[in-house]
């Protein structure tokens, strides 16, 4: 069997107007995000949609989505390094880069939404080790270090032989990291919408789908020749992940539906929760689940454009899913007196109001833009991208799909 051909990794050409324009747009969005954060900090969170009822808002939706997607973006590298699938090998550098970039974007949003972002140093020096947030500070910073080392092993020829163990460490680290992110919610015993061990593995499978969707879009936008089979493999994988997310969501809600004490919150999310019910069914299930599956598996000709559309839908549906989990879970009132009806001046017993405000959206989108800007700059200054990702460049044993006419002619030469 022939060895994987040595890939030539090159910088992208950053002189064209498209690249400059992209950087300008991303830079502007980052600046808008910073301005939003400053406005929130200056005036207080009163200018946002957040309140004492909904304490985590749209910034957290973006932050959690990006952090979850970050760990998922590393998957492509893990498949190559840990599971030895050489077809994915040329994609490992981009996969590691995207993982770091998305995490930087997500963490920036999270930190800039703090009531006191100026006290970041306090968060780095005072630790309560029973807090999952405190664990996450180590997990997130550690992830960046581990993936950076992994990238170095891949870039430096002398270190190449260590890339497999480094990849394994990064893979295990990302599993723990996403477990930590899911557990932020899973461990909240007081809230009906959370308090479930399944949230940790559900977040892991969500990360697979969201991370791969973003990876696919970034890869397709680099302009490198992209093999049909390679793209097809990634698209198949995305479909499997999307179906798995639907499965986990199904089990999560079925389990809740079985327990009478959770009927209230389930009825709210699934049936009469207004915008949250719409976000769940239309956003998460249809746009983010069923429609991409249709595009990826059922359409007769799966063109790159359809695959890109499926990836975009997975991202939109994912944002809707995280929105339902974070915001929907909070607007539903706490069950302070189980079995009783309650009311108060502090909105006990009623569904809370929440409307995303412009500063929140600006901050969240700014985080997204920051992640993409990091990628855009990095591929310009370091050779993250293989020159050629066409099928025969990725796999010397590649056999082009026989065209119908060729089949008739009996031209089916084996590898």
């Amino acid at each position: 069997m022939a060895a994987t051909p040595a890939q030539r990794y090159t910088l992208i050409d950053g002189r064209g107007p498209a690249y400059i324009g992209l950087l300008a747009v991303l830079g502007a969005l980052v600046l808008i995000g910073l301005a939003c954060a400053y406005t929130m900090e200056h005036n207080g969170h009163v200018i946002t949609g957040m309140s004492n009822q909904v304490v985590w808002g749209t910034p957290h939706v973006f932050a959690v989505f990006l952090i979850v997607a970050a760990s998922g973006a590393l998957n492509v590298a893990s498949i190559a390094s840990v599971f030895g699938r050489r077809h994915y090998k040329p994609l490992t550098r981009l996969s590691g880069l995207l993982a770091i970039a998305l995490l930087v974007g997500g963490l920036s949003v999270l930190v800039l939404d703090l009531g006191r972002p100026d006290r970041l140093i306090v968060a780095m020096t005072y630790y309560n080790f029973k807090s999952i947030f405190a664990w996450n500070i180590f997990l997130y910073v550690g992830f960046m270090v581990v993936v950076a080392v992994y990238l170095w092993m891949m870039f430096e020829r002398r270190m190449n032989r260590f890339s497999k163990p480094a990849g394994l460490v990064a893979f295990l680290w990302r599993l723990i990291l996403t477990t930590g992110t899911g557990s932020i919610f899973g461990f909240l015993v007081a809230r009906q919408a959370y308090d479930a061990a399944i949230m940790a593995p559900m977040f892991i499978i969500m990360s697979f789908a969201f991370g791969l969707a973003i990876f696919l879009l970034v890869l397709m936008s680099t302009g490198r020749p992209l093999g049909k089979q390679l793209l097809g493999r990634l698209a198949n994988l995305l479909g499997v992940f999307v179906a798995s997310v639907l499965y986990f969501s199904l089990v999560f809600h079925l389990t809740n539906l079985y327990a009478t004490q959770h009927h209230g919150v389930e009825r709210f999310i699934l049936l009469d929760g207004g915008i949250y019910t719409v976000a769940f069914w239309v956003g998460h299930i249809i746009v983010g689940g069923l429609f991409p599956l249709l595009l990826l598996y059922v359409t007769p000709r799966r063109s790159p454009a359809l695959i890109a559309l499926a990836a975009i839908l997975v991202i939109l549906g994912g944002l809707a899913q995280v929105y339902v989990i974070i915001i929907g879970g909070q607007v539903y009132p706490l069950d302070l007196f189980p079995g009783r009806e309650v009311s108060s001046s502090f909105f006990d017993g009623v569904v809370a109001n929440y409307t995303p405000s412009l500063p929140e959206l600006g901050l969240g989108v700014g985080g997204f833009a920051l992640a993409l800007a990091v990628v855009a700059v990095a591929v310009r200054v370091l050779p993250f991208l293989p020159e050629d990702l066409s099928d025969h460049a990725v796999d010397p044993n590649h056999v082009p799909e026989p065209a119908p006419r060729a089949v008739e002619a009996g031209d089916t030469s084996a590898a």
Binding site: W56, V122, N353
Partner: protein
């Protein structure tokens, strides 16, 4: 304020050590005032007993007194204004029976807010009072997500007219302190309990749950009291009676 709290904690550890080394030593009368240098002691467990039967419908004396005492004022924005204590109307959909009672930080022995706080800003004193150290609170609001009682408020905008005893700051989280400044002064009443008594209801009783001779302990022993969300096993310092 945080300096004295830190001193409290440090001295608390010393006191615990001393108590372990000298068992049987008769400690000072617990009800007397402590000097600022003296630690909060686990020999005390401060708490409240709230009698829902005595809480008068529509009365807000405890709420007003608390917010005046601690300088907690709003901006007529109910969704973001802080509320350290609120009256909750509770009714049984089956029987139609309805009553009102005040809810505030329940000063849990196992506080979920303290568990989740990444920096340790949420903390529980040895004497059972759960507080926020405003100097190391980063405003992440995870404690508000974790609290089963919705007891905490985030300061959404600039605060003015702060009380010297109760520093507050935009971007941090706060809640009932069980009038810790009064406890440390040696007072025997919280602002809410005092106001309720002044109205003649006596629905709120403050005292030391660890002192068998205190009125609150005697009342609880004689007539019992329940915890809100007792299923969570948090062993709250605030107990309720008359909730039916």
């Amino acid at each position: 304020m945080s300096v004295s709290r830190r001193r409290f904690l440090a001295a608390g550890a010393t006191a615990a050590g001393a108590a372990a080394l000298a068992p049987g030593l008769r400690l000072v009368d617990l009800a007397t005032a402590r000097s600022p240098e003296e630690a909060a002691s686990s020999l005390n467990r401060w708490g409240l007993l709230i009698d829902a039967d005595k809480c008068a419908d529509g009365c807000r004396a405890c709420v007003d007194a608390c917010h005046t005492e601690n300088g907690v004022s709003g901006h007529d924005r109910p969704e973001t204004d802080p509320q350290w204590i609120r009256t909750v109307s509770v009714s049984d959909p089956q029987t139609g029976h309805s009553q009102q009672l005040p809810v505030m930080c329940q000063h849990c022995e196992e506080p979920p807010c303290v568990d989740v706080c990444p920096t340790g800003a949420s903390f529980r004193r040895d004497d059972g009072i759960v507080l926020v150290d405003k100097h190391i609170c980063i405003g992440c609001r995870y404690c508000m997500m974790a609290c089963p009682y919705k007891a905490r408020s985030f300061i959404h905008e600039q605060v003015t007219d702060q009380k010297p005893d109760m520093p507050r700051g935009k971007g941090t989280v706060e809640s009932c302190t069980l009038c810790v400044h009064r406890v440390d002064r040696g007072d025997t009443q919280t602002a809410c309990a005092e106001a309720c008594a002044k109205e003649g209801h006596r629905a709120i009783l403050f005292g030391d749950l660890n002192d068998a001779d205190s009125e609150i302990s005697r009342e609880l022993k004689a007539h019992g009291g329940i915890q809100l969300r007792a299923d969570l096993h948090l062993n709250t310092g605030v107990r309720y009676r008359g909730l039916s």
